[in-house]
């Protein structure tokens, strides 16, 4: 257990088959560091654990055995978060002391839900959210946030794990009438919460304020960001999503029908001239097939879900990487309201109209590093689809608009 004035970090170990009893590891806080990462783009949170095992004693005790469960608890005095991991791939230690087996051991860990995955075959005839709820029930998640998808259909989980089934088979079709035409994301955050939610529901119950630290201002509440950097995904990566042509054969008429969705199509209330992009949306940049059969509401919703899913990456056209002191409360899927100031004419500071505003946190990396000069820090990537660009900015009229 590590303690300082603010934080408390603990590690417990226990085998997967060993039941709920886990043993706390009594390690010198200066002997290890870890990075704990989660992301809305991947199901499992991951952890990189670096331990100084100078004399090889921990290795002798087989504490880095693949499959060993490691429970990480971290937080403030009365506000702790726990996330279970398993050792995924221990690395060959770097020898640091001549004559001993010891060294610096770097270990990769992944959320413990991964090791419980079993290849199975099942037919499902249910709504996607009910299936997801059924699969993830009693799996030791702290909480589950599953947005209802209404329509029923038949789904086949053939020789695949629950995680594969959810992420590869169900997620692309997820559609909710409450999603405001936004795509779904599935991920376990670093607080051990299971999330199956559309973009517009992410973080709506946990809005946090965040400020970029400046020498002139003090802040009473909210997260103080030490450094910040803008980051765009890159035109080449997202070009194909600018105007996607969809095709399907109408099963009643036999005619090939086409429709398109552009980078401005979703969500439904796309603001005018607020996408950070100058492009000709009349050019077709991608093609995709939809399913011919729309004979039931469920099958229609499947096709709608696919359309939203096809534009999923475009929901983060505007990205910011931020670093702050270790803030264990932050997790992927949170919503933050960024207050970014810039110099104004009267030697005052005013909020940046373009960059300030609400962002979804795409990924978080909590870093605990007592070996180096840093103690703890949190780096997160926050993204959103739209700017808040004032109309009097010249470039505003050139930005893409909804067709």
């Amino acid at each position: 257990m590590i303690q300082n004035a603010v934080y408390e970090v603990g590690l417990k170990i226990g085998s997967i088959k060993g039941g709920s009893t886990k043993v706390a590891i009594d390690l010198d806080p200066f002997e290890y560091s870890f990075t704990l990462k989660d992301s809305i783009w991947q199901l499992y949170p991951r952890m990189e654990w670096s331990v100084r095992d100078a004399y090889g004693i921990l290795q002798e005790l087989m504490l880095f055995t693949e499959g060993l469960e490691v429970e990480v608890t971290y937080g403030y005095t009365n506000d702790f978060f726990t996330c279970p991991f398993v050792i995924h791939s221990p690395e060959v230690p770097i020898t640091i002391r001549q004559g001993y087996m010891g060294g610096l051991v770097n270990i990769s860990l992944v959320h413990s839900y991964s090791i419980k995955q079993e290849i199975k075959s099942l037919n499902w005839n249910e709504s996607i959210s009910n299936i997801v709820s059924s699969i993830t029930k009693d799996k030791n998640f702290t909480t589950r946030h599953i947005t209802p998808t209404l329509s029923k259909d038949t789904w086949y989980q053939y020789q695949m794990s629950d995680a594969q089934f959810i992420t590869q088979q169900l997620l692309p079709f997820a559609y909710s009438t409450d999603s405001s035409q936004t795509p779904f994301f599935v991920f376990i955050d670093n607080h051990n919460n299971f999330n199956f939610q559309p973009y517009n529901k992410l973080g709506i119950k946990s809005l946090k304020k965040a400020y970029l630290a400046t020498s002139n201002k003090t802040y009473e509440d909210g997260i103080i960001i030490n450094s910040m950097q803008r980051m765009t995904p890159g035109a080449n990566k997202l070009k194909k999503y600018r105007n996607i042509e969809f095709y399907r054969f109408n099963t009643t008429t036999g005619v090939l029908e086409s429709s398109n969705s552009t980078i401005t199509s979703y969500p439904e209330n796309t603001p005018i001239n607020q996408l950070p992009l100058i492009a000709d949306l009349l050019l077709t940049t991608g093609t995709e097939m939809l399913y011919d059969d729309e004979s039931t509401i469920g099958k229609k919703h499947n096709n709608l879900g696919l359309k939203f899913y096809s534009q999923r990456k475009t929901f983060f056209l505007e990205r910011i990487i931020c670093e702050t002191i270790l803030d264990p409360s932050l997790k992927a899927g949170d919503l933050i309201d960024l207050y970014i100031y810039q110099p104004a004419d009267n030697k005052q500071e005013e909020l940046s109209a373009t960059v300030s505003g609400k962002y979804v946190i795409e990924s978080v990396a909590h870093v605990w590093n007592k070996q180096g000069s840093k103690n703890g820090s949190t780096t997160f990537v926050a993204g959103r689809k739209f700017l808040k660009l004032p109309r009097d900015y010249n470039i505003s009229q050139d930005l893409v608009r909804k067709l």
Binding site: S121, N123, Y156, Y158, Q159, P172, G254, M289, Y291, D292
Partner: protein
């Protein structure tokens, strides 16, 4: 373009309520051991030859193994053709079925055919042009190697008919009239020098006329 992957599947049911030649399949080994087959997919046929107004299809046997093409999300299922397990096909079955058929060569490699589950055989000899169908009961209708039409219904009777009439009642009428003519009682003596009087002339004449009319409706010259 839809990406499809090739699978093998067992046919569970061919009783498609939509009558679209779909068959319910259980992918093997992917769906092996599923608790219930109720919601197993109904696969569309991948027709061998069809267009908007033409179609050819067969029904696979229940419990047989077929090929299936499935998309990556397991949402689109097609079935086609038997999964030809080694040794399942035996050309001797074709030879034995064709053996009784007159003047049809059965050289391996020349015969295109469909051998149905009831052992009925539709065939075409791609060298001689022989073509026809052999019924499981042994009857057949074929063009033989020489191009002659051969009808053989084995132990069954042959039926020749069209929408207007059939051959059997026509021949029956003619036979009846001929029998009447050769029956002495129907011939009445006439005065010397006068022709014999045929007592059935009125009824038989109408029968013969009707038979002739029907024969014209049934057969071309």
């Amino acid at each position: 373009m839809t990406d499809l992957k090739l699978y093998t599947a067992k046919v569970i049911s061919i009783t498609d309520t939509t009558k679209k030649n779909r068959v319910q399949i259980q992918l093997l080994p992917e769906a092996l051991g599923i608790p219930s087959i109720t919601h197993c997919p109904w696969a569309m046929p991948l027709f061998g030859s069809s267009s908007d107004n033409t179609v050819s299809f067969t029904f696979p046997e229940v419990d047989s193994i077929v090929w299936a093409l499935v998309d990556k999300y397991f949402k689109v299922f097609y079935w086609f053709n038997q999964y030809n397990i080694e040794g399942k096909f035996d050309y001797a079955d074709i030879i034995n079925t064709l053996l009784p058929v007159t003047d049809v060569a059965s050289t391996y490699g020349n015969i295109d055919c469909i051998l149905y589950s009831d052992q009925g055989l539709a065939f075409h000899n791609t060298v001689t042009g022989a073509h026809g169908f052999v019924h499981k009961n042994g009857g057949y209708t074929v063009f033989n190697d020489s191009g002659q039409i051969v009808l053989n219904s084995n132990l069954q009777k042959i039926v020749i008919k069209n929408a207007y009439t059939s051959l059997k009642p026509i021949i029956d009428s003619i036979t009846e009239v001929l029998q009447n003519i050769i029956t002495p009682l129907n011939l009445i003596s006439a005065p010397p020098g006068a022709p014999v009087i045929y007592s059935q002339v009125a009824s038989d004449l109408s029968k013969i006329v009707l038979a002739g009319t029907n024969l014209t409706l049934l057969l071309e010259e």
